[in-house]
């Protein structure tokens, strides 16, 4: 007799937990980024999948393969997990062709997380660009959750996309904007006829918003070009490298530090990362 699947998955980190795609949201007008809401088939798996914002999971499509994707939902959202995925390779393309009601698999949660304990009691500056906003969205929803909000100081968000149609989570951005407890700055590189918001690149907006370095930590995720121009802004504002946190991406397979391809120096991005402070990255080799 074979053991129940939830028990096999609990004992074997390569075995995905079955999940059902319960909702698919097309996020952008180019239709190549979708959010997949997944519900665990087995209660035992749902209880075991305890995650912290910043962690990722391997999305597993039998017959196609696996893809490591950051968890976009917050652990404060119960009953499901969400992943926002850009259509890019074999697995993510197959994922984009899926319909609600389909079964697939998830392995995780994997990796470290945003350093929640370190962030507590501090002012948090969240900076995101384009499609790399997913685990930042998880962090924001975690911090503004009723019971959690008082554990964090001022929350400033700078989020940018190339055009209004490429902004993720538009309904949530609107809801956040109506709250009094987030300084929300949404920007697009170039607006359109209907866009009434801010225009400008993320680094420029960061400069204008000029968050104080006092008791503050910034959490930055975005395309390399955005990161490159945003970091000097925060250096100028006086943020130390210990207080600038980011997340790395590398090609991965196992997700648990065995298959040997996502190392940066002695560290595996899958297991020791993906989250590193700039101070930690300075100690690693520049091979990512």
């Amino acid at each position: 007799m074979q053991k129940p699947l939830h028990q096999i998955a609990a004992e074997n980190p390569y075995v995905p937990m079955p999940v059902e795609v319960i909702k698919i949201i097309t996020e952008v007008d180019t239709k190549d980024i979708k959010t997949f809401r997944l519900a665990f088939v087995n209660k035992e798996d749902e209880e075991r999948f305890r995650y912290i914002p910043g962690q990722f999971a391997e999305l597993s499509l039998y017959g196609r393969g696996e893809s490591p994707i950051g968890i976009a939902s917050s652990p404060t959202q119960k009953g499901y997990i969400e992943f926002t995925v850009q259509k890019a390779g074999v697995v993510t393309t197959a994922l984009h062709e899926m319909e609600e009601g389909t079964l697939m698999g998830v392995r995780g949660p994997l990796g470290n997380s945003w350093p929640i304990e370190f962030l507590e009691g501090k002012n948090i500056v969240v900076v995101g660009g384009g499609f790399a906003f997913t685990t930042l969205r998880s962090l924001i929803n975690y911090m503004i959750f009723e019971e959690n909000r008082k554990r964090f100081g001022k929350i400033t968000v700078v989020y940018g996309a190339r055009s209004p149609g490429l902004l993720l989570y538009k309904d949530e951005l609107e809801a956040w904007g109506k709250r009094g407890d987030i300084d929300l700055n949404v920007t697009v590189d170039k607006g359109d006829a209907t866009w009434k918001g801010r225009e400008g690149f993320v680094p420029t907006v960061c400069k204008e918003v000029a968050p104080s370095r006092e008791n503050a930590v910034t959490v930055i995720c975005g395309p390399p070009i955005m990161i490159r121009f945003t970091l000097p802004v925060f250096f100028d504002l006086g943020f130390s490298k210990e207080n600038i946190i980011t997340s790395l991406e590398m090609r991965m397979k196992c997700g648990i530090g065995k298959c040997g391809r996502c190392n940066v120096g002695s560290k595996y991005v899958c297991k020791d990362g993906p989250v590193f402070s700039l101070a930690e990255l300075d100690k690693l080799t520049k091979e990512y």
Binding site: P13, Y14, P16, G63, G65, A88, C254, K258, R261, N263
Partner: protein
């Protein structure tokens, strides 16, 4: 643990007797090579050989391995079954360098936080019988430079040492002792046998003339990632990956899916840091685009990263990569050269 003496001409029969009861992997002649294979009736285990062409890590970490099976359902692809569990088996005729590789691989696959159940299951089921090197088999041997020795018992459950007329049989672990009934005809070893082994150990280690500063280059590697030296090592490398495939400690793998009709398997296959595709991302970005970077990765992984993470050099000095490299890249020379770098 117990030590016995066995008449040399009895060994082959004992191994074949084991093979009647359970799978026994042993070195066998295969055309021009000596390879580890499961002994089938009529096959002769090699008792006298230099070393195998392939490293015995493949027994615990196969070249290609089934992870799970799945099948189509009305709601999509779903899990079907795990591979059948491993039976108890014996791995006979392992050289001490290769036996040490198991200890090094245990550090990675059997970590506290993430355990690799496929590897661990096979390690639990397999009993390792090693053959001490009375004389180092190759000029390329350098085990003594990477924390090993030609008579090291690390990673062995039983070790056999050729004392001339007899084998000294050392039962090193409970798993090894469980095979003692097969050696029932062996007699108790006395102090003179142990003294002989000690003499062989010293003599054999002394025969390895080639020394490299295995541990000493670590502090140099810590500060030389950007050193121009790396530009000089990979020029003739053709990225064939032979070094990594023959290496007893290389553990990188790929996971892939294969389907036939409505059924499929997820398997893992050995992969190699020598290949450009190894780190190529979907976006097109590749953190290691040049063979120089890939060679640096291989060297660093063995002599720095593994030391950082596990305080062990991920090289056992078997010499396979030195002997098999089609363009004669010699890792010993590279390590030598690194030790002389001005940093």
């Amino acid at each position: 643990m117990e030590k016995k003496l066995l008449k040399k001409d009895r060994l082959s029969g004992i191994v074949k007797k084991m093979a009647d009861d359970k799978p026994v992997y042993a070195p066998v002649k295969d055309e021009d090579n000596v390879l580890f294979k499961i002994l089938e009736p009529g096959m002769e285990p090699l008792i006298s050989f230099a070393n195998t062409k392939d490293a015995p890590k493949k027994v615990f970490f196969p070249h290609s391995e089934l992870l799970m099976k799945y099948t189509r359902s009305p709601k999509g692809m779903v899990f079907a079954a795990m591979p059948a569990g491993e039976k108890e088996f014996v791995l006979f005729g392992v050289r001490p360098c290769d036996a040490r590789s198991f200890v090094l691989l245990d550090m990675l696959f059997d970590q506290e936080k993430w355990k690799d159940p496929y590897y661990i299951d096979k390690r639990k089921k397999g009993t390792v019988i090693s053959m001490a090197c009375v004389h180092p088999p190759y000029a390329a041997c350098f085990c003594t430079s990477v924390d090993g020795s030609p008579t090291s018992t690390q990673g062995s459950d039983i070790q056999l040492t050729d004392l001339g007329e007899t084998y000294l049989v050392e039962f090193l672990t409970p798993k090894g002792e469980a095979l003692a009934p097969y050696f029932a005809e062996a007699t108790a070893a006395d102090a003179s046998a142990e003294a002989k082994k000690q003499a062989i150990a010293e003599q054999s280690a002394a025969e390895i003339q080639r020394k490299i500063p295995g541990r000493a280059i670590k502090p140099i590697l810590d500060v030389s990632f950007e050193h121009p030296f790396w530009d000089t090592i990979a020029g003739k490398c053709i990225a064939c990956g032979t070094c990594t495939y023959l290496c007893p400690t290389c553990h990188c793998f790929d996971i892939s899916d294969e389907m036939k009709g409505d059924d499929g398997v997820r398997i893992r296959n050995w992969d190699s840091c020598m290949f450009p595709l190894f780190t190529l991302e979907t976006s097109g970005h590749n953190p290691r685009t040049s063979q120089k970077q890939r060679w640096r990765q291989r060297l660093m992984h063995k002599f720095k990263y593994y030391v950082d993470n596990f305080d062990a050099i991920s090289c056992v000095g078997c010499g396979r990569c030195v002997m098999a490299c089609p363009v004669n890249i010699d890792i010993r020379k590279i390590v030598d050269d690194i030790s002389k770098l001005q940093v």
